[in-house]
Symmetry: C2
Subunit: 149 residues, 2 copies
Amino acid sequence: MNIGEASKASGVSAKMIRYYEETGLIPPAGRTASGYRVYSEQDVHMLRFIRRARDLGFTVDGISELLGLWRDQSRQSADVKRLALDHVADLRRKIADLEDMASTLEALARACHGNDRPDCPILSELEAPCAPTDGAPDRTGAINRFGRG
Amino acid sequence: MNIGEASKASGVSAKMIRYYEETGLIPPAGRTASGYRVYSEQDVHMLRFIRRARDLGFTVDGISELLGLWRDQSRQSADVKRLALDHVADLRRKIADLEDMASTLEALARACHGNDRPDCPILSELEAPCAPTDGAPDRTGAINRFGRG
DNA sequence: ATAGGCCTTCCCATGATGGGAAGGTCAAGA
DNA sequence: TCTTGACCTTCCCATCATGGGAAGGCCTAT
């Protein structure tokens, strides 16, 4: 199987297959006499594994660790679980960051008339933010996060 | 004020101030006779605006649009609001993607014994995703994410 | 005058991905 | 057999926002 077929079969682009090989995530593929890379069903299996890990947001480094465990018949599932939960924690941190941004911005947008006049609490907040309230803040950020008076 | 002072006053690194200038996000700073960039309080004001927009997750392109509206005394707040809500939609899409990953992975991790044995549902799922179960629906969404690759 | 802390420009790296050029290979059809 | 077109190869460049670092110039306090 050449790289195009392996790509279709695995859902990993040919570009990325070459990249994974170059960076050592996967071993160098075999070659035909003329230099074409050749892949086995086993290889495609591995590429699919990689693709699914990517879909779960693992970095190439994380995938590398996962592949190591996958190949290690004497692995301990605790190690896999720890890897997974570490990644979940990463994801949750990112989610929280984005959620903060979204809710803040949403609150500002709610306060904006959205008409043909120039005055806009969104710009005002960007220009000179009001300090957030210290006590039990509104979780949505809807109140008192901005406002100019 | 030189770039170091402007950086401290605005919270934008000197590197990034130069980058913003180079890419046209901000106008070229004035220069001393010896070539040092000089900044006014006005400039610092603008840099702070940029920093806050960045903190809200706006891309440089988005910040560029915001700056345009900020400077435009005849702007319509509806335009600002639209920009903000478009960005909120982006953020929410990203959040949903990450949330899918996190909950899928969390469900898999819950199913993993996390002991010293090698068998692990996380690796199994990455290796060969389960077909959708016909019976009990999967409340976590863990299983179907892998379907069609 | 000198030290050392700024500043300047220029180049490189990140991470995962794609675009595209220049050139070789292969399979199918005339 | 020759041509055509789809594939493959390597190599370089771009993304996006950010930082690291080198080489060299400037400024200020001692």
